[in-house]
Structures are given as C-alpha cells and as structure tokens.
C-alpha cells in the first residue's frame, strides 16, 4: 500500500468494498451489519451478534472467514463446555525413549477468527476463558502465557429469546466486545432472495479477497485517522450523557439507567468512528461518524435498571434520545 494519504484512502475503500461485495454474494441484506463487523475487525475489536435463530449470524461469520485469509475456528458453547476446551490443556506425551513430558495442546482460541456460537449457553467460568484472549490477545495455560497470532477477531453469537438454561454474559465480558450488533428479520424481498440462493443445487460461495497482511495494514491506516478535539469532545459528551449522575443528562437516562458507559465505550466509539470516516471517504472524523457507530458501540455498555427491564425499554431508545439532546457544535 502506498504511503500517500490519498492512495491509502483509496486502497482502503477499495479493499473494503471488495470484501463487502464478496460477503454480500452469500449474505442477503444486513449490509449495515456486514459493515459494522468489518469495522470491528479493522478497529481491532470483537463483535457480539445477537438475533433470533436462523437469521444468518453464523453464516455471516463463516462467509467472512472465507473472504478473509485468516485461520478460523468455531466453538459451540454448551453448558458443559470447560475453559480448557477453549484455551487448550497440557497433555502427557511419551517419546520414543519412554520419557513422558507435558505438551500443550492448544485450543480453538488459537486462531485469527473465532466464532463463539451461542456464547450465553456456557457457564460464566467458560465464558471468561475468552477474556484474556480478547483483551490482551494472549492465553495463559499450564503456567505459560502464549501470545495469539494477529489479528485476533472474536465473533460471538447469542439468542435473545431462548433464555432458559443460559448464562447471560457478565458485564465485564460484554464490555470486551467493541460492537454489539442486532440482526433483524429479513424483509420479504430479502427472504425471497435467501430462499432462491439456498435451495438450489449449488449454493453461492465467497472467494478469498483479503490477505492477513492487508488486514493488518488496514488496521494501521484506521488507527492513523486523525480526529479533531471538538469531534472527540462530542463523543465524550455523548458518553457522559449516558451517566444518570450527570446533572444535564436526559430524563430517560435519569429514570432508567443504572450505570453509564465505561471509558472503554468511548474508545470503542472513537475507533469505530475512524473506520467509519475511512469508509465514507473522509480524511478526518466527523460528528456524523461518531453518531453512526454510537449505537453498536454503546448499547451493550449502558446498564438499565429494573424499571427499564420491567418496561422492556431498550438502550437504543435512550441512546437516540441522547443523540438528539447533545449538541454537536
């Protein structure tokens, strides 16, 4: 990739567009979800996909794994899944001389793309096995810490309806995800297209577009995107507006929010905004970019109180109210 800014911009947009087009060959609709998933990948984050069964959560991840030249592993989370099943264990290995020694058998977490399917079905202990890998990109097992190969991209899915026998993700675990994306049910035309594509003799497949090196370079480009202080201030003000202890916060926040977003939430907003700016062919981050990623970046970080749960209030409504309230000047 060229060192010129304009060339970097063009290359970034071109590659991104190619990946998106390739994924769209398999995945019908959900364009915004695909964009946000790619944003998470390029912003060095992880994504939590939430949706009812059958809307294509796992399919999106699998397709993306096909498009990207990355190692992929899938972990099906079940209640009896153990942390060792994820990170790996030391096994006894006997050599030809009969000498026995421990050898680390790496788990499925040692991959570039990890699909944690139905993550809320495993116990919190097992869910926490992902924490270190997601935050520090390393795994500690058998007394040794092993660094994971970059990039590390965890994509977790969960079903919001079937909650019986599940373990909702702890707040600390939720906070590790850069974005939480919701997959909506497809509309009629999309449904027709899905049926047409998947009920024929051959299903469409995606070809590999993006190499690992290119992904890493695109990550660097995204990090190099400048953000002016006034825009950053806007993101900070938005984050602060989610705190009920803030005197100038919205009435909905005062009434329904138990805890506002963490500093990690502001980081997520800024990183997502930078990728969004690149995708919008801008050489700077605008307030519009901040707004575009605010919901996926913060919706799982705002903790609602019992009253909001009772009224089945969603955080998106509160965040939209905050966007309308906070001035972008």
């Amino acid at each position: 990739m060229s060192t010129s800014g304009e060339e970097q911009l063009e290359a970034f947009q071109e590659k991104f567009g190619q990946v998106k087009d390739e994924v769209s060959k398999v995945i019908v609709g959900n364009s915004e979800v695909i964009t946000h998933v790619m944003t998470c990948l390029l912003a060095k984050g992880h994504v939590l996909l939430e949706g009812i069964p059958g809307v294509g959560k796992t399919k999106i991840v699998q397709t993306l794994a096909d498009v990207l030249d990355l190692s992929f592993s899938r972990i099906q989370f079940t209640p009896d899944l153990m942390p060792g099943d994820i990170v790996g264990t030391n096994v006894v290995n006997e050599d030809e001389a009969g000498k026995k020694s421990f050898e680390f058998q790496s788990g499925p977490i040692f991959a570039n793309m990890i699909l944690a399917d139905e993550i809320n079905r495993a116990t919190p202990k097992t869910q926490s096995a992902l924490l270190e890998a997601m935050q520090e990109n390393s795994v500690s097992a058998g007394g040794k810490t092993r660094t994971l190969d970059q990039p590390v991209f965890v994509l977790a899915t969960q079903n919001p309806i079937e909650m019986e026998g599940t373990y909702p993700l702890p707040e600390a675990q939720m906070d590790r995800f850069l974005f939480k994306l919701k997959l909506d049910f497809p509309n009629a035309s999309e449904l027709h297209t899905i049926v047409d594509r998947t009920t024929q003799k051959t299903e469409p497949t995606a070809s590999r577009i993006l190499e690992k090196v290119e992904i890493l370079k695109m990550r660097d480009v995204a990090r190099d995107m400048p953000i002016a202080k006034p825009v950053q201030d806007y993101a900070v003000r938005l984050a602060l507006a989610t705190h009920p202890e803030n005197q100038n916060c919205h009435d909905l926040v005062k009434k329904y929010v138990r805890f506002g977003v963490s500093p990690r939430g502001v980081q997520a907003v800024i990183l997502g905004s930078k990728v969004s700016a690149l995708l919008n062919k801008r050489s700077y981050v605008a307030n519009e970019d901040v707004r575009s990623v605010l919901l996926p970046a913060l919706r799982h970080r705002v903790l609602l109180n019992f009253e909001a749960e009772a009224e089945q209030l969603e955080t998106d409504k509160i965040l939209n109210a905050i966007i309308e309230t906070v001035s972008d000047a």
Binding site: E6, D224, P230, A286
Partner: protein, 519 residues
C-alpha cells in the same frame, strides 16, 4: 505540511468579524426596540408626569433601561471564535465538520497523512467561498430600524418633556400638580380670576346659609389656587433674594438690601426710586397698583428678568445704570404682586376655613403650610370684624365649655375662635358692640346652678355640670347679664339686615340659652 493554512484562518477571521457585526446590529436593534416599547408602555401606564423624579415610573424606567444595558453587555461577553465561524461554515455548506477539523489541525499540528489531505481540501474550499455571501449583513434594514427607534425615542421623549414638569420639579421640590400650575401662565391668570370669584362667593355665603357641597368645592378650588400662588411667592422671594445679593456688594445700598430681605418691598422701592431720582415712577406705580390682582408675567420671564437685572447690577462699575434700576423696580413690583396674591389667597383660605369647619377642628397646617405667620389655633383677642361665623359651631363649643366647667379665665383666653363664631354673628346682626362669650357662659352657669333648666321643654334634667364655687360669685351679675342678653336677642331679630331664613336659627340659638317665651 501545507503552508497556506493562513487562507483558512483569515477566512475564518473575516467570518468572525462579520458575525460579530451582525450580532451587534441585531442586538442593538432588538434592544432599541425593547427600549422603545418600554418607554411607550411606561408613558401609557405612568401618565403624563411619569418622567419626573417624583414618579415611581421614572425609576422603574431607569432600572429597566439599566437592566437592558447590562443584559446587552453580558450577551457580548462571549464573542465569536474561529471555531464558531468554522462550525457555521460547515453547517452552511454541509461540509460535515471539515473546516472545524482543519482549523483544529492548523492550530494543533498532526503527523497523520490524512491531515494534509484535510488541510489541502479546506484551503481549496476557503479560497472559493465568499465570507460576505455566507454572513450577510442587512445594513440598510438595520440602519433604518435603528434610525426609526432612535427617532421614536426622541419624539416620545420630547413629547413627555413637554408634558412633564421635570425642570420645575427639580427647582422646586413640590408636587407635580403645583409645578404644572407654576409654568402655565394661563392657569395663573385663571387662578387669580378664580380667587376673585371665590372672594365674591364667600361674600355671598357670609350673608347666607353655608351649603356643605359649596364649601367642599370652594375648598378644593382654594387649595389649587393656594398651591399656585404659593409657588409664585417662593419664586418671588428667590428673585428678591437674588436682587439683594446683587446689591449687597455696595455699602450705599445696605438699607435697600435690608428692606428687601425683610420683605419691606414698598420701602425698598421708595429707596431705589430715590436713588435713581425717578419720582415719576413712584407716582405711576402708586396709581397703577390698586386694580392689579396678579401679574400675568410668566415664571420664566420673571426669572429671566431677575437674572438680567442681577448681572447688570453686579456689573456696576462707576456709574449707575438707570435702566437697570428701573428694571429692578419693575421686578420688585412683580414680586410684590406675587406676594400680594399669596396674601390674598391666604385670607380667602382663612375665611373659608372659619366658615366651613368648627373652630377647634381647624388644622394648624392649613394656614401655616407655606410659612404663614398667623396660626389660626393661637388665641385672638376679639372676633374678626369681617365676621365669618358659624353659630352652630359656636353653640356647640359653648355648651362643651360649660359641660367641662371652664372658668371665665378659660373663656377669656382659650378657644377664641369658638367665641368669635358664637358672638360675632350676633354682633353683626346688632351692628353694635360684640358681646363676649364670657357673658353667655356666666349666664348659663348661673342659671343652671340656680336650678333652672337649660331651655329644654321635655322635662328632662339638664346635663350641664357647673362647679359650685362659681355660683355665689356670679349671682350679682345675673340680672344685668340676662337683661343685656335679652335685649341683644330681640335686637338681633328686629334688624332688617338679618336675613329671614337666618332668623329662625338666631331664635333657636337664643332659646338654647334662655327660657322659652322670654324672647
């Protein structure tokens, strides 16, 4: 890095200055409009005289004007910055925070390759745009509006000043009604005429029964006239004092100054005339003095004359200016006329008060309000020969005095107003010597102490109280006093000058103090 970043900053600075000017014009126009509205509102609420220091509305207006001024100042504390201009530019041109970010990276350099792209694009854009188009200032409309508001304020202010008495109120700290009368020459002339009319009415009322409604109206008229003439009297005294000050520098006019300051104006006039040797002026003045009720000279003219004369007199060098002296004479005569008016009004007021109210109910402030020397509550030796009386009031006073057991000394010295009102009517009717109230009191006291009734025909016991120690002393005088009194009563009723309608009142009066059938 891009070097021509000053294109962006200069563009933003121009925008800033234009934004400031536009805001200034808008605020100024708005505040002027508010001020105009306030002025008109207070003018409507406060009436004609609100623009005077006595009016609460004047202070409300001053307070609100200061408040508007402070608000206007506070609104300009936060002036426009370049960032504000950049935000405006982004918003107007839908640039999505480009100029704002560019300005930030101009002031805070960044090594990112994207910053150079941003600055380059921003510079190109700023070279193309026109700040004059972005921030349009409607000079003409603002100018016309400001002009209109200022003009309205001037017109309204001038109109209010004409109506108000601000100037005179500052000179004389009196009520606005009085100051209005002071300025208005026509009103003065009318007051003088009204004074004559009131004098005539009082004359008529003295000979007739006083109707309360007439009394109230006359009192109101007299109050207005009093205020007016008293104001002019103050003015006259000020003028006299000014003349005295102008003359006091010269020892040869020491007597004239003394006469002026003690208000012996006739004497002062004579001395000045002698000093000038203009004897003709004395004769002219004496001849023309009789018929004048008051001068039609306005206060402004009077003060102007006084100022001119004072400066002329003060500028005497070696020779005496006859013209200045004649002017001084004229001014003193004017002042004299003003003081005469005051005296006239005061006399009419005294007459009115004596007729309209029981003597002991007269307020000491009524006559002494403007420095009158005579206090109506002070004892007077005898009744007023002119005879403004109230027989009912006198009777009431007398009965009260007997009930209180006042001695002869008391009736000699105290409550003389009551005595006058009781006796002077009879004296006027008789045309003879006025009998003293003492006589009546003694007569009543003796009769009551002798067990006779007080003229009541209902058989009830008299309520009079009489000290027993006076009973024996008065026995010898009873016969003479009763005879005299009977004679007086019959004499009064037989007088042809006594109005027929008043005769019943006089009869009742004497019945109250004599046995029925004696008259």
């Amino acid at each position: 890095m891009i070097e021509n970043t000053n294109v962006v900053t200069s563009c933003l600075q121009v925008l800033c200055s234009r934004l400031f000017v536009r805001k200034l014009l808008l605020e100024l126009t708005f505040l002027l409009g508010v001020e105009c509205l306030l002025f008109v509102s207070i003018s409507i609420i406060g009436g004609d005289n609100w623009f005077a220091t006595e009016s609460i509305y004047f202070y409300v207006f001053i307070f609100l004007t200061l408040f508007i001024f402070v608000v206007g100042l506070s609104r300009f504390q936060n002036t426009f910055s370049e960032t504000d201009a950049a935000i405006l530019l982004d918003r107007e041109e839908n640039l999505k925070d480009q100029i704002k970010s560019a300005y930030w990276f101009i002031t805070n350099p960044n090594d990112s390759v994207f910053v150079s792209i941003l600055l380059k694009n921003s510079i190109n854009y700023c070279q193309k745009i026109s700040p004059y188009r972005l921030v349009q200032i409607r000079w003409l409309s603002h100018f016309l509006l400001i002009l209109l508001f200022v003009f309205s304020l001037i017109v309204a202010g001038t109109f209010n000043l004409q109506l108000s008495t601000n100037v005179s109120a500052k000179i004389f700290p009196i009520s606005s009604d009085v100051s209005i009368n002071t300025i208005d020459t026509d009103a003065l002339e009318e007051s003088n005429l009204a004074l004559v009319e009131i004098g005539k009415k009082l004359k008529i009322l003295e000979d007739d029964y006083l109707i309360p409604e007439d009394s109230d109206q006359l009192q109101k008229d007299l109050k207005v006239i009093n205020d007016s003439v008293n104001m002019r009297a103050i003015l006259a005294r000020d003028g006299i004092e000014e003349l005295a000050k102008a003359l006091e520098a010269r020892p040869e006019y020491e007597k004239i100054v003394s006469a002026l300051r003690s208000e012996r104006l006739d004497e002062a006039l004579s001395m000045i005339t002698e000093a000038t040797g203009n004897l003709d002026y004395i004769s002219d003045r004496t001849g023309s003095k009789g018929g004048e009720v008051g001068s039609a000279l306005t206060d402004k003219e009077f003060l102007k004359n006084i100022d001119e004369i004072s400066s002329d007199l003060a500028n005497w060098s070696t020779t005496v200016s006859e013209e200045a002296l004649e002017q001084a004479l004229q001014s003193i005569e004017d002042a004299q006329s003003m003081l005469d008016d005051q005296e006239e009004a005061r006399q009419q007021t005294n007459r009115m008060n004596t007729m309209a109210a029981p003597p002991d109910q007269l307020s000491p402030l009524t006559a002494a309000r403007f420095g009158d020397q005579a206090n109506p509550t002070e004892p007077q030796g005898s009744a007023d020969p002119s005879g403004s009386t109230n027989m009912q009031g006198g009777t009431m006073f007398r009965q009260g005095a007997v009930a209180r057991g006042d001695s002869d000394q008391d009736s000699d010295s105290g409550h003389v107003a009551g005595a006058a009102s009781g006796d002077s009517e009879a004296a006027a009717l008789e045309g003879g010597v006025t009998p003293r109230i003492k006589v009546n009191l003694e007569l009543e006291t003796l009769r009551i102490n002798d067990g006779e009734n007080d003229g009541r025909t209902d058989g009830e016991k008299s309520w009079f109280y009489s000290p027993s120690q006076n009973q024996e002393q008065s026995d010898d005088e009873f016969t003479d006093l009763a005879r005299r009194q009977r004679y007086n009563a019959a004499e009064a009723l037989d007088q042809q000058e006594t109005p027929i309608r008043q005769r019943q009142i006089i009869r009742d009066y004497f019945i109250n103090i004599h046995k029925k059938g004696e008259i």
